[in-house]
Subunit: 138 residues, 2 copies
DNA sequence: TCTTGAACCTCTAGTCACTAGAGATTGTAA
DNA sequence: TTACAATCTCTAGTGACTAGAGGTTCAAGA
């Protein structure tokens, strides 16, 4: 059994975040010492690692709650879990697509001023004022 | 002169968001009718278009505030504006990089279950539990 | 001119996933 | 025993809005 600080060190999840996860129902309520401090075991560590990994992958708290429920009731869990992962994947792909368009335009905008002496009118500001300049939708 | 609703229609920025931008100092306080309703002109429309475009490109409210200040004091504005745009660009590139790693792993995870009859242990859940499976850092 | 109802006003509170701080208590090593 | 780091709970703040309550104003049709 170890303290919340130790759990934090082992999982790289900050102490207040652990308490927050408990409050949100992602972590079961921890056992307590006689002095009311939380104590964790291997199971707690594993669950928190799971949560952290899922958060790193961009799953929302809500999605993780669903995944945890599936873990606890493993009948037919795989399909639903895959659905959640696939939907997360399409979110990520959507974001990448959008960011690439932004990258393109920001590159264009940033290059406008560079090296040239022309700074009477700022190209960056002009570009931002006028969406018509853009080469693609965003 | 037109109303906040009309401004909203023309810029595709929602009415409460326009009021929020005013409160944040992005938009100058609008003129008012005798009945206290906001009225806008072409200048207001242009500034809001600028803000919307910048927000679409992922600039923070704070960054936009800086850009607006530059617009209002155009001496040497171009360098600073370019700096802001370049920094925004590198943010975007960072995000793309990260998301691509996530895409890779989510693809791997999502494929695990597909088509196979093996659903005793869910591959999605197992993958999320164990970071060691991952092929790259994220 | 009057009436109706859509649009407007301000204010407060909620969203997500934490993060920060205050003030009090507990655990542990010297 | 003592010192002090770590823990506890609670409230409030972050960014960029969004939602809702409850009240007022505008403008078009009768």
């Amino acid at each position: 059994m170890f303290s919340i600080g130790e759990l934090s060190r082992r999982t790289k999840v900050k102490v207040p975040t652990i308490r927050y996860y408990e409050e949100m129902g992602l972590l079961a309520e921890a056992e307590r010492t006689s002095g009311n401090q939380r104590r964790y075991d291997k199971a707690g560590l594993e669950r928190l690692s799971f949560i952290r990994h899922a958060r790193d992958l961009g799953f929302s708290i809500e999605a993780i709650l669903s995944l945890i429920e599936l873990q606890d009731h493993p009948d037919r869990s795989c399909e639903t879990a895959t659905d959640i992962a696939v939907s997360q994947l399409s979110d990520v792909r959507e974001k990448i697509k959008r960011l690439k368009l932004l990258e393109k335009e920001l590159t264009r905008i940033s290059k406008g001023c560079d090296g040239l002496g022309v700074s009477e009118d700022c190209y960056v500001l002009a570009s931002l004022s006028d969406h018509e300049h853009c080469e693609n939708e965003h």
